[in-house]
């Protein structure tokens, strides 16, 4: 029941906001997001006190096609739900003080998006998962299309078609699995697991690639990423935050829930290839980030590099790797939302994101610069920031898998420093110019977003145990499947 409330409360709030068309839509949306945060806090309480049964709901929906409304929350789901419920209020708050045309639509769509994201993270039915997955695309498409920047029509269309194409591959894979479920066909997660695990090695390989392609497009992992830099750049900041902070985790979550346990032989056969592609992607995206001239585009590429590391760590199929992926998803979400907001603030004051035109902002906006430094440190994984925990565990797991791949993936700590320090130097250090001389420091709502973010970055870096312990049992359970198979590897 609680889980259902968690999914549909944002939708109800969104419908209300659509209906009211109030000038105070932003405040309403923020209030709704805060209530949603409280609901998720209750969920955490239930989860911790062992009342996990209460979080499950399962009843038939459309019996003829084996679709049921089946939702549940385990540790892996819970972390992503929390990421969503924590970030959305900040994302809404970050838009305060800006005027949008049709504000009720804008904020309503953000809440619809939240509904779909949470649905994706809690669905235990393959088709239900697919439904939420596709629903999530619709609000973000309109957010980008209506409130985006220059050339948005073409770019958002490409984004929409690209991810839709990926999703269709997933749908095909899901239907194939459905047709192989034992007994009465169903999309129930256990049934799909049983179906996938019963497939021959070759079939599992096909399913692996169909699912992987869908998830890889969403994350995005090299070479399925070319929709991303343009979309991140053109989307309104809140859209970019939703895309990078939360939506890309759908792809990673998809791998953990809907790929790794479904086709174990496929994963063992092709995992090495997936890791290889991901590691190439890390270096590839980092190199491209080095020569980017636009602040926002640079962070977009850095995001591809970070996600590549997460994907590579995941496919090592070790507890360290998957736990690293979990905490890195949280960290990346927080860091990247902070980073895009900083870019937004800079753009708001100077009307540019071209690094060559910036500089010297530290002189006039020291608070902004300090917040940027801490966020940057989270991004380059300095110890005692959240980024370190994840990157350490991930690189460590890849290193254990193949030492040379770990060493290559580890280049991210050098290349990350190269492009992030360069960005800081170009934008914040040096002397002010005509554009930056009048930059004002953080306003109240900017502080209200960025201060908690930097506190979280440091807090998680110092004491990650609460987060790691939430997902630990679920990850261990996931890997049980592989313990008899490790001999084959």
């Amino acid at each position: 029941m609680l889980t259902t409330l968690l999914i549909f409360f944002p939708l109800a709030a969104a419908l209300l906001i659509f209906a009211l068309r109030s000038k105070q839509s932003h405040a309403l949306a923020f209030g709704a997001a805060c209530i949603e945060l409280l609901i998720s806090a209750v969920v955490v309480y239930q989860f911790k006190t062992g009342d996990a049964e209460n979080l499950r709901a399962n009843f038939q929906w459309i019996e003829r096609i084996g679709l049921s409304y089946y939702v549940d929350i385990d540790g892996i789901s819970l972390l992503l739900v929390l990421l969503t419920t924590v970030l959305v209020p900040f994302i809404i708050l970050s838009s305060f003080g800006k005027s949008f045309s049709k504000p009720s639509t804008f904020y309503g769509l953000i809440l619809v998006m939240q509904m779909a994201l949470i649905g994706v993270f809690v669905a235990q039915d393959g088709l239900l998962f697919y439904l939420f997955w596709e629903i999530a695309l619709i609000p973000i498409y309109f957010i980008c299309l209506i409130w985006g920047g220059e050339n948005r029509g073409k770019i958002t269309f490409k984004f929409f078609m690209y991810t839709l194409a990926g999703s269709l591959l997933m749908l095909i894979a899901l239907i194939y699995l459905y047709l192989h479920t034992p007994g009465v066909h169903s999309f129930d997660v256990e049934a799909l697991y049983a179906a996938g695990q019963g497939l021959s090695g070759g079939e599992q390989g096909f399913i692996f690639w169909f699912l992987f392609a869908a998830f890889a497009v969403k994350m995005p992992v090299f070479p399925f990423h070319t929709w991303q830099p343009d979309t991140y750049t053109v989307a309104p900041t809140q859209g970019t935050m939703l895309l990078s902070g939360i939506m890309l985790k759908m792809g990673i979550y998809g791998v953990i829930r809907w790929l790794v346990p479904v086709v174990p032989f496929g994963v063992i056969t092709w995992g090495y290839t997936a890791i290889l592609i991901s590691v190439i992607g890390i270096i590839y995206a980092s190199c491209i980030a080095i020569v980017q001239k636009d602040f926002k585009r640079l962070i977009a590429y850095s995001s591809i590099a970070h996600v590549g590391l997460i994907a590579a760590g995941l496919f090592t199929l070790t507890a360290t790797g998957i736990q690293g992926a979990m905490i890195q998803m949280i960290s990346h979400g927080i860091v990247v939302v902070g980073m895009f907001f900083i870019i937004d603030i800079v753009f708001d004051r100077t009307k540019t994101t071209a690094l060559a035109d910036l500089g010297g902002i530290r002189n006039v906006a020291p608070k902004l610069a300090t917040v940027f430094v801490i966020t940057l440190l989270g991004s380059v994984a300095l110890p005692l920031t959240s980024g370190f925990i994840g990157e350490f565990l991930l690189i460590s797991s890849i290193f254990q898998y193949r030492a040379w791949l770990g060493a290559l993936a580890g280049l991210t700590i050098i290349l990350g420093a190269v492009y992030m320090l360069r960005t800081f130097q170009k934008s914040m250090s040096g002397d002010t110019n005509t554009l930056t001389a009048s930059v004002t420091d953080l306003t109240w709502n900017e502080k209200a977003v960025l201060y908690p973010i930097v506190v979280l970055i440091i807090l998680i870096g110092i004491y990650p145990a609460p987060i790691l312990s939430i997902s630990e049992p679920a990850v261990a359970k996931l890997l049980e499947l592989y313990s008899p198979l490790t001999a084959i590897r």
């Binding site: 070479p223 070319t226 736990q323 440190l377 005692l384 250090s429 040096g430 002397d431 990650p464």
Partner: protein
């Protein structure tokens, strides 16, 4: 009586609290309040370190190791790392130096930075640095050390680029951070290997399990860890960031880039002495890199004219000597030289800072000269520093350097010869520096000389304290040959006992040098040192030689003045190719490759539609024609099929 656990926890927490208090109130605090908090927190940490040290001394010799558990930090899968501290003779020595010398430099900074707008920010960074440095040497496992390791790198970055309006300084800061990160990756991979092979990242587990590990594994671990040391302690090939790091305010150069942070590599190798001793290959590598760096950097220092650059290359060279000692298995000698070097190099840097301060920011020695009359305290203390680094008895450097040279001789006279050459070069460039700065004619402009003044007390008192330490510091390790008992060696012996045992079992112990040999070596070294001093005196004082402008240099001198063009080399073989590759990937692979293909897929749909549209002509005759063809084809197919 406070417990050791309490002391161990309070030592790093104090500067952290200092940092938070100052950093969160940068705008609100007055300069005096900020400096009081910053200096006070480090001073309290120093008191705690001294108390801890005394507590250790009161313990029996084999019971001076304490593990202090704070909390569980990272637990994921089978990986486990606590946040905890290791207190033993090795870390206690570092604690004393970090907090003691750190405190003096904090006090010095009050005077040196007094009219800087970023005064409070400066002190917050200094406190943060001390915190991370303490974590580095106190960590109970590799990961806590790594926190400190990267943390001091961050502070170094922040302080090198402290005057951030100057983009050249920011470049230097970036270079330092990135080059250190290259080393850090090596260190990180080494830590992974430690974990994979020993199932833990604790030093205690490593020490127990190391003898059972395969030699190849140990060699890999030690070499990877050493790559980290090369970065942090500025050894070939990762040393070029350190001279550039002189962009930071002078107290930073003294604290971070001479006395403490750059000795992190020394600490790390000493902490892992068991692993290194188990890998003769790694030991040889450490020795060769140390020796090569000692000589190489000393030659560069000969032709530098920026007073801080000379000292920077000198630091690189002295660190090389320390690594030489470690590579020879003379771990105590390495730590000993680290300690004395912390005293006299901090003194020299602070002295140079006092000169720079007096000359309104001038750093070029060609515009100095004759300053001993104007800056008597600075001169006297600086002279002590120069005598100490040159190894004149009984100053601190004599004993520590002598111990390294004696060990080198016992290992191989050629190694001794090269090390001796490096230390004679040190004598040369240090006296050159001394004479150019304090002797001869005054070459500063009238305008500068009209402002000249001896530095305030907050600057001269730390100088005097460090000068005293540079005089007496060597007595903690007076060798037997000179009637001493080498207290430091005794004190540190539990830390290195296992290594000594391993060497003994292998039967590779060096024969002890006879006292006669030791006297002879000392005699040769001192004799040559005096000779070099005389040569330098004749050249720079008698003949009043002043280095010519860089443009007029030719031949080897030009190569030295340009630091062997190593920066240019790295630029050509690493930086430029990286940018070239990145541009190629961006333009050709990303935009004209992958995205182009994606767009072809995209545009193939409307393009395909345009082609198929052509079949829809609207003419009925044409449709009937196609229909007939279709029917014929179907009939044919069914007949044949």
């Amino acid at each position: 009586m406070v417990s050791i656990k309490f002391l161990a926890l309070i030592i790093p927490v104090l500067p952290l609290v200092g940092f938070l208090l100052v950093a969160l109130n940068v705008k609100r605090l007055s300069h005096s309040a900020a400096s009081f908090i910053a200096c006070g927190s480090v001073f309290l940490a120093f008191i705690a370190a001294v108390t801890l040290f005394i507590r250790l001394l009161n313990q029996p010799e084999d019971a001076r190791t304490f593990y202090v558990h704070a909390f569980n930090w990272i637990i994921a899968g089978d990986f486990h790392s606590t946040m905890g501290f290791l207190i033993d003779p090795l870390s206690s020595i570092f604690l004393l130096i970090i907090t003691g010398v750190g405190f003096l430099i904090h006090v010095y900074s009050i005077g040196y930075m007094h009219d800087d707008a970023g005064f409070n920010r400066f002190f917050s960074y200094l406190n943060l640095f001390v915190f991370f440095m303490l974590l580095l040497v106190m960590g109970t496992n590799y990961l806590v050390m790594f926190i400190g390791w990267e943390g001091v790198g961050l502070c170094s970055y922040l302080l090198i680029g402290f005057w951030f309006k100057n983009q050249a300084y920011n470049d230097a800061a970036n270079k330092a951070f990135i080059m250190n990160r290259i080393g850090d990756l090596g260190l990180l991979l080494g830590i992974f290997l430690v974990f994979i092979n020993f199932g833990s990242v604790n030093y205690a587990d490593m020490i127990i399990q190391a003898p059972q590990a395969s030699p190849e594994t140990i060699t890999w671990i030690t070499i990877l860890l050493f790559i980290g040391a090369m970065g942090k302690s500025a050894q070939i090939p990762l040393y070029t960031w350190l001279p550039d790091a002189m962009a930071g305010p002078t107290p930073v150069s003294a604290l971070i880039h001479a006395a403490t942070m750059v000795t992190a590599g020394i600490y790390m190798v000493a902490r892992n002495n068991v692993l290194y001793t188990l890998s003769p290959i790694a030991m040889n590598l450490v020795m060769i890199v140390g020796l090569a760096t000692a000589l190489f950097a000393a030659t560069i220092a000969l032709k530098q004219n920026d007073i801080k650059k000379v000292l920077a290359y000198s630091t690189v060279s002295q660190l090389g000597l320390m690594f030489l000692a470690l590579g020879l298995g003379a771990f105590t000698a390495g730590i000993f030289h680290m300690a004395t070097h912390a005293f006299f190099k901090a003194l020299l840097f602070l002295g140079a800072g006092s000169v720079i301060h007096a000359l309104s920011g001038e750093q070029d020695m060609r515009s100095m000269g004759g300053l001993r009359k104007y800056l008597p305290i600075t001169f006297a203390t600086f002279l002590i520093g120069v005598l100490a680094i040159s190894g004149i008895p009984p100053f601190a450097g004599f004993f520590s350097k002598d111990e390294i040279l004696a060990n080198a001789f016992a290992h191989n006279p050629i190694v001794w010869g090269i090390a001796l050459l490096a230390s004679l070069l040190t004598v040369f460039y240090m006296f050159r520096l001394l004479y150019l700065t304090f002797f001869g004619d005054v070459r500063a402009s009238q305008h500068v000389m009209s402002h000249i003044h001896e530095s305030p007390k907050s600057i001269t008192v730390p100088l005097i304290c460090l000068a005293v330490l540079s005089v007496v510091g060597g007595f903690m390790g007076v060798p037997e040959a000179l009637g001493g008992s080498h207290w430091l060696s005794e004190y540190l012996s539990p830390v290195f006992a296992q290594s000594v045992e391993i060497v003994k079992q292998r039967g590779e112990e060096h024969a002890h040098l006879t006292h006669a040999t030791e006297y002879m070596l000392m005699g040769i070294v001192i004799g040559l040192t005096v000779l070099v001093i005389i040569i330098v005196y004749l050249k720079y004082v008698r003949k009043k030689h002043v280095p010519v402008a860089d443009a007029q240099l030719a031949g080897p001198a030009k190569i030295l003045a340009n630091k062997y063009y190593i920066d240019e080399l790295y630029n050509a073989i690493i930086v430029k190719p990286l940018y070239w590759l990145s541009n190629v990937l961006d333009v050709f692979v990303e935009r004209m490759g992958i995205d182009f293909i994606v767009n072809i897929f995209g545009s193939s749909v409307p393009e395909g539609g345009k082609i198929t549209r052509l079949t829809q002509t609207g003419s009925i005759g044409y449709y009937i024609f196609l229909m007939v063809i279709g029917i014929v084809l179907i009939v044919t197919y069914t007949l044949i099929g």
